[in-house]
């Protein structure tokens, strides 16, 4: 798993201004889940995406999620995947939060990709940015690709 180094990671591209950036850094990664004070899904998302260069929110049964995982795999990128259907505590709420982040035009909550802590988007956006050549620079900037 790749650990993200740059400090300003949590400046997500989402429009929700209530998401406070600093929360993500106040939590120790060793704090057991049961003791986490905040269960707000958005904050959890921020925390998770700041940990790794490439974060994919997925469902284990979702075929489109499988496709996006294979895409990054094929590029040699080591992505951190969170299977939301396997999170009994926050899974559903994170999915709802992701739907909000993506906006109305998105029909499904997953897959959603964050690179360098920033929201890239659903499969559409990921594919589009790869073909128009903006994905690779983003990955390099986040330290997920070296070449």
């Amino acid at each position: 798993m790749m650990y993200y180094r740059a400090p300003v990671a949590a400046a997500s591209a989402n429009s929700d201004s209530s998401c406070s950036i600093t929360w993500g850094w106040h939590y120790d990664t060793h704090v057991p889940t049961s003791r986490q004070i905040s269960s707000e899904p958005l904050e959890r998302i921020v925390k998770l995406v700041s940990r790794s260069a490439v974060v994919i929110f997925s469902r284990s049964s979702c075929c489109m999620c499988h496709a996006v995982k294979r895409l990054f795999c094929g590029m040699g990128v080591n992505a951190t995947v969170y299977e939301l259907d396997q999170d009994p505590f926050l899974g559903k709420e994170i999915e709802r939060a992701l739907l909000n982040l993506l906006g109305d035009y998105s029909k499904t909550s997953v897959p959603v990709v964050f690179i360098g802590g920033k929201l890239v988007g659903a499969m559409d956006r990921v594919m589009g940015s790869h073909i128009n050549g903006t994905l690779v620079p983003l990955l390099k900037e986040a330290g997920a690709l070296w070449l």
Partner: protein, 359 residues
């Protein structure tokens, strides 16, 4: 004696007689020195038997044993004749039933053909009258698909016109501004196609997945309801006359296209596998499929999004080429692309009408 005589009369009245069956009986007569053992007509046999009866009436009691044996043989004949009657009757009944069945099937066939003709006219096959896809397809078209097929026919006609214009413009060495207009028209035309396909995918995703609106050669090269994007780029590349600074961009595009394609293909494989598992679950269980079919239906739902993604990749490839190339290169690229699909379409027709070897 009298009873046997009346028996003879009734035997003679019968029209149905199988001489061959009587052979074994006639063989017996040989020992008694009767003249004929070959299968003979009813009349002849009857005459012989009749003669026999007349003979016996004048004979001594010593011949009564012969008489009884003859009676037995006569009984056998009568029994055989009765069986033949039955068999013939049954055969006639069967024939009648068969003919009736044939008649009703013929009527039904005529009705079905009429229906097929009617729906064919409504659906209006495009893509070559000869090479119009498998028969019976029109029966499954819904109105969304029917209108898509109509629109696609118009789209192909307009495409052919645009290709002609492009060719003339390039050959005539028209200035860039004129070419740019044609290129923009071409790009907009492809956008139209993707819009039509998106609508059709909502109407019937399986129809799109099988490429039924395309000609057979195009269907052979089908990838998730359309052309394979990487194949497209490979077709275009040699005709573009790339400048050095463009090369790395284009090669990157080819690579990212291939990666995107592979990723979607793997997603599709997983979808297929999950469908197979859902349909096959609980086979031989003896229970109804009804409770599980809902699960299989759920597995099919992502199919629309896969076609959407595949078309999205195709659109993005075209857009990226448009951005990377000069006007002249883009014009040549669109022309090459259009000609390529035209060739595939005529290949399909030629294949369909080629002289076949006798079966």
């Amino acid at each position: 004696m009298n009873s046997s005589h009346t028996q003879y009369i009734s035997a003679r009245d019968m029209g149905v007689y199988e001489p061959i069956n009587q052979l074994s009986m006639f063989a017996d007569f040989d020992e008694n020195g009767w003249p004929d053992t070959s299968p003979s007509l009813l009349v002849e046999v009857d005459t012989k038997l009749d003669n026999q009866s007349e003979d016996t009436s004048h004979e001594t009691a010593g011949d009564s044993i012969k008489y009884e044996e003859t009676n037995k043989r006569v009984d056998k004949v009568l029994r055989r004749l009765a069986q033949n009657r039955e068999a013939a009757r049954k055969s006639r009944l069967r024939k009648k039933a068969y003919v009736q069945q044939l008649e009703s099937s013929r009527l039904k066939l005529m009705q079905l053909e009429q229906e097929l003709d009617r729906s064919r006219h409504q659906g209006t096959y495009i893509g070559g009258a000869i090479d119009s896809g498998p028969p019976g397809c029109s029966a499954t078209m819904n109105s969304g698909i029917a209108s898509f097929v109509l629109e696609y026919g118009n789209w192909v006609e307009k495409q052919d016109r645009q290709i002609c214009e492009l060719r003339n413009a390039i050959n005539a060495d028209l200035p860039d501004e004129k070419l740019r207009v044609l290129v923009n028209d071409g790009m907009a035309h492809y956008s139209d196609l993707f819009r039509m396909k998106a609508k059709a995918a909502k109407a019937d995703v399986f129809y799109l997945m099988s490429g039924m609106w395309k000609t057979s050669a195009e269907r052979f090269l089908l990838w998730i309801g359309g052309f394979r994007p990487s194949e497209l780029l490979k077709v275009l590349l040699p005709h573009l006359d790339l400048l050095e600074q463009q090369c790395s961009d284009v090669y990157n595009l080819i690579q990212s296209c291939q990666q995107a394609e592979d990723a979607i293909s793997q997603g599709m494989d997983k979808l297929q596998q999950s469908l197979v598992d859902a349909v096959a679950a609980g086979l031989l269980g003896g229970g109804s499929y009804i409770p599980q079919v809902a699960n299989a239906v759920e597995k099919l739902k992502p199919l629309v999004s896969f076609i959407d993604q595949a078309d999205h990749i195709r659109k993005e490839i075209l857009q990226q080429m448009y951005r990377t190339l000069t006007t002249r290169q883009a014009a040549r690229g669109l022309l090459a692309l259009g000609e390529y699909f035209q060739r595939l379409r005529s290949l399909s027709s030629l294949w369909a009408t080629r002289p076949r070897e006798p079966a």
